[in-house]
């Protein structure tokens, strides 16, 4: 069992969740509550990582994080470090490839909330912020949990993009899924099995959480 790879995987998944919580909330709230030209394109861009082959996405991300590119170059001049083949680069890439997993469930949740509930809250004297925290957020909560669980498990299991961006640097970018691949190549089947079972257990637990929360949401929205 490669404990270091597990630690990196968990760290990456948690950091991606922590980053995508505010980003996902902001994007999904704006998309659910406003109508603007180019909304369709905006949604398509957010959903793109879901349909693109990981290698294609990984290639574009690698090109844009490279030190010769605008983003990669700016990062080098600011910090003196390279984004490509670093944990920070991997983290940034994870935020992008897990974006649809965070935004879509949150967006569906916000869209399911009847507009009258929001208006009723305003007529009851609640400010827009209070309406968000006391009405919309609790009602969207199961969707937010779903988003976080999916983001966590997807980041934990991602292979293609991680390999393209991070490579396979032990202690830096080597995640559990990369370690499994390495073990299989080295005919260390016992170790690969152990790590695979770990990922399987995490996936099972997280998906069970999603179903439980979804049932609760359906129960609440029965009105």
């Amino acid at each position: 069992m490669d404990w270091q790879a597990l630690e990196i995987s968990l760290k990456l998944a948690l950091l991606t969740c922590a980053s995508l919580l505010p980003i996902g909330l902001l994007l999904s709230y704006i998309l659910s509550r406003t109508q603007f030209i180019g909304r369709g394109l905006c949604e398509a861009i957010i959903t793109l990582p879901l349909v693109l082959p990981p290698t294609v996405l990984g290639f574009f991300l690698l090109v844009s994080l490279d030190q010769d590119s605008f983003i990669g170059g700016a990062f080098v001049s600011l910090t003196g470090e390279n984004l490509a083949f670093s944990f920070t680069g991997l983290w940034l890439a994870s935020i992008i490839y897990s974006l649809p997993f965070a935004v879509q469930p949150m967006l569906r949740s916000f869209e399911q909330i009847a507009p009258e509930l929001r208006e009723m809250a305003w007529c009851s004297g609640l400010s827009k912020w209070k309406t968000f925290f006391k009405i919309e957020l609790p009602l969207a909560w199961p969707g937010i949990i779903t988003a976080m669980v999916l983001t966590f498990s997807h980041t934990l299991g991602e292979f293609g993009v991680v390999l393209m961006i991070g490579g396979n640097i032990a202690g830096e970018t080597r995640t559990l899924s990369i370690a499994i691949y390495d073990s299989v190549l080295a005919f260390e089947h016992e170790q690969a099995q152990m790590m695979s079972l770990t990922l399987l257990a995490i996936a099972l637990v997280t998906i069970s959480i999603v179903y439980t929360f979804n049932r609760r949401q359906r129960h609440l929205m029965r009105l």
């Binding site: 009847a114 009258e116 208006e119 009723m120 305003w122 007529c123 009851s124 004297g125 609640l126 609440l220």
Partner: protein, 356 residues
């Protein structure tokens, strides 16, 4: 006093004007899509009209001239939405407390719950309540803010007929304790006539007439209003002056008009309420001269809740039907049957004229 004057040329177009005194229940009636709910949304601050004013007790909530437009949170409105819009994740008590300015005030929540007869259901969630109970929670929540105006948007449409009748009685007894103007939106004329002090007819965003239910239902200003309030006896005639007397010439008949009528137009539309058409007793006919007698043959009889509606095909007139409402016992006592020949009186005081 709530004063509303709204003008909007965009869609949905509005040209609305009415006043509602404190303690008065005003019903906005009209067909679906007439703009009734939009007017309520304007009063609540959820929709901004182009021009006009919304004033409550001399204070402007909206005034396009002075560029005043208070947000919903600043308006102190009690709003009951069509589907009640109860917060599904909050209990009954929490729904009400949320609208209270002082959320610690448990006594107020309890008194509101007892007012709408929901004591004991504080901890239930909205989906655990019946339609009628949900409506009562919505009313209690609307009152929790001690509102300056109470807005009810088709509050009875989501419940079954039996529950609706119970809720009419409850609202009727509750409203007498309320001191604020109450605006009820409904497309049900019977509901409006039963509950409201004043009715306003609205059609395609335009208010056509404001008056008491009796004025609107029996004396509509125009044919459009008459059609919207479902006036059943609507005919065309000609007003002719015979000496000092005004007569209505209709289908080869001359009907005497009330001397209170001062009508200068010749061609008119006229109506008479079915409940004011008088049946000549068949059992013991009176010997005196009858006022504006009209004879005909019964073509249909329908009885609902003790009222028999008689459709009378008028003699010497082609396809002219007069509707008459009589108590069921009157229909039985006079042995009214389909095909019978009867005579009725169209009392001059009950004939209402409208411009052609």
């Amino acid at each position: 006093m709530l004063e509303v004057s709204l003008l909007d040329e965009r869609q949905p177009a509005l040209s609305v004007e009415f006043n509602c005194a404190s303690g008065e229940l005003l019903a906005l009636v009209g067909p679906s899509g007439a703009g009734k709910s939009t007017v309520l949304r304007c009063i609540a601050g959820l929709h901004k009209p182009e021009r006009g004013h919304i004033r409550i007790n001399q204070s402007d909530w909206f005034n396009s001239d002075d560029k005043i437009n208070r947000i919903p949170q600043q308006r102190r409105v009690g709003f009951v939405f069509q589907n009640y819009a109860l917060f599904p994740h909050l209990t009954v008590a929490e729904n009400i407390k949320l609208a209270q300015s002082n959320t610690q005030e448990d006594k107020l929540t309890a008194s509101l719950l007892s007012k709408v007869r929901l004591t004991g259901l504080e901890k239930r969630y909205p989906h655990q309540l019946s339609g009628g109970q949900q409506q009562r929670v919505a009313i209690a929540r609307a009152l929790a803010r001690n509102p300056d105006v109470l807005l009810l948007d088709e509050p009875f449409s989501a419940v079954d007929k039996v529950t609706r009748r119970k809720l009419y009685l409850e609202l009727n007894s509750l409203r007498h304790d309320l001191a604020m103007p109450i605006v009820l939106v409904t497309h049900d004329l019977d509901e409006a006539a039963m509950l409201a002090d004043t009715m306003v007819v609205i059609y395609r965003g335009k208010t056509l007439q404001q008056g008491t239910p009796s004025q609107l239902l029996h004396q509509p200003d125009t044919v459009s209003v008459a059609k919207l309030v479902d006036v059943r006896n609507l005919f065309k005639g000609k007003v002719v002056k015979e000496g000092k007397e005004l007569q209505l010439h209709w289908e080869n008949k001359q009907l005497t008009l009330s001397d209170r009528i001062d009508y200068h137009q010749q061609t008119v539309n006229w109506t008479i309420s079915p409940s004011k058409v008088i049946l000549h007793q068949r059992v013991r006919p009176s010997r005196g001269e009858q006022e504006n007698p009209v004879s005909g043959q019964i073509v249909e009889l329908m009885t609902l809740r003790g009222i028999t509606t008689v459709l009378l095909s008028v003699n010497d007139a082609k396809n002219v039907i007069i509707q008459m409402d009589v108590s069921e016992h009157v229909a039985i006592r006079n042995d009214l049957k389909k095909g019978d020949a009867i005579t009725v009186s169209l009392i001059a005081d009950s004939i209402h004229l409208m411009p052609s």
